[in-house]
Symmetry: C2
Subunit: 235 residues, 2 copies
DNA sequence: CGTGTGATTGACGCCTGTCAACGTCTGTGG
DNA sequence: CCACAGACGTTGACAGGCGTCAATCACACG
């Protein structure tokens, strides 16, 4: 973690990526610029750990952060991959609780750190911002409930197909149709809630069914409707 | 659903059950009294359904409400049992979205209905209330994430034991040590995310292991530490 | 070139879902 | 008061999905 010369401007983030700060006044944005500190983080870095106190939250300008909980015998359950425009860690600040997930950089990132007190100040002085933040929490809550239903009712095969569809929506494909997020088989397994070997076997089946193509960690999606059907995804 | 003569006073709820309205001013409470309408609901009634718009939220004065999502082939996944002091439906109001769960009365209930506009008004005019509500959403989010981890990593046996422990915490035991919530085996299965038959078999095993006693739907907990151990519950 | 991490494949078996049959209880209507 | 329907609970048989263990391969890195 090192301070960088080219700190991103908040206003740019707000207009391009980020919804949460959309309703700040000019003054508040100026204040935000002063309060925040922006850093690069290398792949593999732990931002914060489950059970530790954090005193601020992060706004992702670039890169990917993996949020996970540690379950029985150290097995990780991935809650979400956060990307450009996402804010993470705000829950702990608002609730004044320890972090309930661990945040690990899985793709070199540029993150802005904003002190918790300033978040509280914003919530208390700008009701539009408070609404926006509340809606974010509610959105995550809705998604969590959907995930609970899926994980409780769907087979591993269905869940894996579904996750691939969601990853495609969240991280999109490059020009070759390859998922723009590079995950180990183990990470895929830790999202789906299964064993690494099962993911490997199922991916290879999907490949046999001409739904995807595999080259190392690159996953090329060649039949999205087919994947959605296998995963019982209806949007 | 019928209007009742003895509408509960908000102030009583606030002092005894309910955290969410704790920071309202006297004036706001008076306004709340005017805005709300209170009704009895019989067991089996549907309050609202997943996918429908709701224009207000409910505050539970008495009774139990089951919140569930409907998954593949109509199988229900229970998200939560709401009881005295809980508020439900606020997420849809804040996000201005359709309900993402169905709410069904499973124990005769007294509920206060509060129009959505008033919730928004409160959020926008009372920042303490906004904070409180945000913390509620964050709390539910944390619990949802914990549930995801459990359901993804634990066996059905562990999950069932865990659910019994949680039900004990939430609904407590009567003088005979019996869980104060009466659920069908199917409802237990729909919480745990398994088949009804599996619940029956496992409950009967727990009985054999002297963890619980069974009399119809009554579940008497006779070895809580044992249950916690089986469920890998550490608090 | 050795070491370590991740990917793959095969063998094996248990947990758990499914199907089917039957028992139990409750409320309703005759 | 009895018969019946319908919902719920229970038990058994069975198969297969998926987790676990172990061995091997592939690849990157110091």
């Amino acid at each position: 973690m090192k301070n960088i010369p080219s700190t991103p401007k908040c206003q740019e983030c707000i207009t391009s990526n980020n919804a949460i700060f959309a309703h700040l006044t000019k003054d508040e944005i100026a204040r935000l610029e002063l309060e925040k500190s922006c850093n690069h983080h290398k792949r593999g870095t732990l931002l914060y750990q489950e059970g530790n106190r954090i005193n601020g939250f992060y706004c992702i300008n670039k890169g990917i952060v993996k949020l996970y909980k540690t379950g029985i015998e150290g097995k990780e359950q991935i809650i979400k991959f956060a990307k450009k425009g996402d804010v993470i860690g705000y829950r702990s600040i608002l609730s004044n609780e320890m972090a309930c997930t661990t945040a690990k950089i899985i793709e070199d990132s540029t993150l802005c750190y904003i002190p918790g007190e300033f978040l509280i100040t914003l919530v208390k002085t700008n009701t539009n911002f408070a609404m926006e933040l509340m809606q974010l929490a509610c959105k995550e809550l809705k998604e969590a409930n959907n995930f609970i239903t899926d994980i409780a009712q769907k087979s591993v095969r269905e869940r894996l197909a579904e996750i691939l569809v969601y990853l495609k929506e969240d991280f999109d494909l490059d020009n070759d149709g390859v998922l723009q997020i590079s995950l180990t088989r183990e990470e895929l397994a830790n999202m789906v809630g299964t064993a690494t070997e099962s993911v490997i076997r199922l991916l290879s089946e999907f490949k046999g069914d001409k739904l995807i193509e595999l080259t190392g960690r690159k996953i090329k999606i060649i039949n999205l409707p087919g994947l959605m059907k296998v995963g019982n995804v209806y949007n």
